[in-house]
């Protein structure tokens, strides 16, 4: 890290610099309500769990269940690994192919995710500017 930057950081500890925002609340128009819904569900879940907590209880980890998911979906391990690698790659390079590979890998994980929830999935072109095929949950075909 450059020396000058370190000096500025030190100076910040004594006289904090004001913040200048470049201001990007919602980048590129890629958003839908599911993140907010999930965040709200998370809060409800956490509040419920905290309320149920007694000092002797341990967190609700289920390694057996995770093991079962991997056994039923042998690709899962590899897909997660790929997402990690692609996630790093798209941060390092401006590479459309890697970005599309990342979406496709996440799509495959989404299919497995909804399968473990006993739901079907459909693939639609996303309504975002990216307009790429995206996996959505759907009623299971009987």
């Amino acid at each position: 890290m450059p020396l000058l930057y370190t000096l500025f950081e030190l100076l910040d500890k004594i006289f904090p610099a004001k913040i200048a925002y470049a201001h990007c609340d919602i980048p590129c128009g890629i958003y839908d309500p599911h993140l907010a819904q999930m965040a709200a569900h998370t809060v409800i879940r956490m509040v419920t769990l905290i309320n149920e907590l007694t000092p002797k209880m341990t967190p609700d980890a289920k390694p057996e269940q995770m093991h079962e998911h991997v056994q039923k979906n042998p690709d899962l391990h590899d897909l997660v690994w790929k997402v990690m690698k692609l996630g790093s790659k798209v941060k390092q390079e401006v590479n459309l192919q890697s970005s599309e590979d990342l979406l496709e890998t996440v799509n495959k994980i989404a299919e497995i995710f909804w399968k473990t929830k006993d739901m079907g999935t459909v693939r639609y072109k996303s309504p975002y500017p990216t307009a790429r095929e995206t996996v959505y949950p759907a009623p299971k075909k009987s």
Partner: protein, 101 residues
């Protein structure tokens, strides 16, 4: 009025010129000597939230001495395309130099 101010930049709308986390040092006296001009990177007060500072580049200077400011990284920036032109009184000063993280 202190002639020099230090700001830390948040967000990415001035990338690649200035990245999130960089510091900028702003000269407040430059515009006492000359008018702001196209291409200058400036720190300004947010036209709607007066306590908030923004960092932008001047893209157009109008005949009535108003300034259109935009972020270099246009997809990631909220600027004069949303809040319209700004007046010189909103400008804090010109970015004199910046310190990369």
């Amino acid at each position: 009025m202190f002639p020099i101010m230090r700001f830390k930049v948040e967000d990415r709308s001035m990338e690649p010129a200035i990245r999130a986390g960089d510091y900028v040092v702003v000269n407040r006296l430059v515009y006492a000597l000359r008018n702001p001009s196209k291409g200058d990177i400036i720190v300004l007060r947010h036209p709607k939230e007066k306590k908030k500072f923004l960092i932008k580049r001047i893209s157009v200077v109008t005949n009535s001495n108003e300034y259109y400011v935009v972020g270099d990284n246009k997809d990631f920036s909220q600027d004069s395309r949303h809040f319209g032109p700004i007046k010189q009184s909103s400008i804090i000063g010109k970015v004199w130099f910046h310190v990369k993280s």
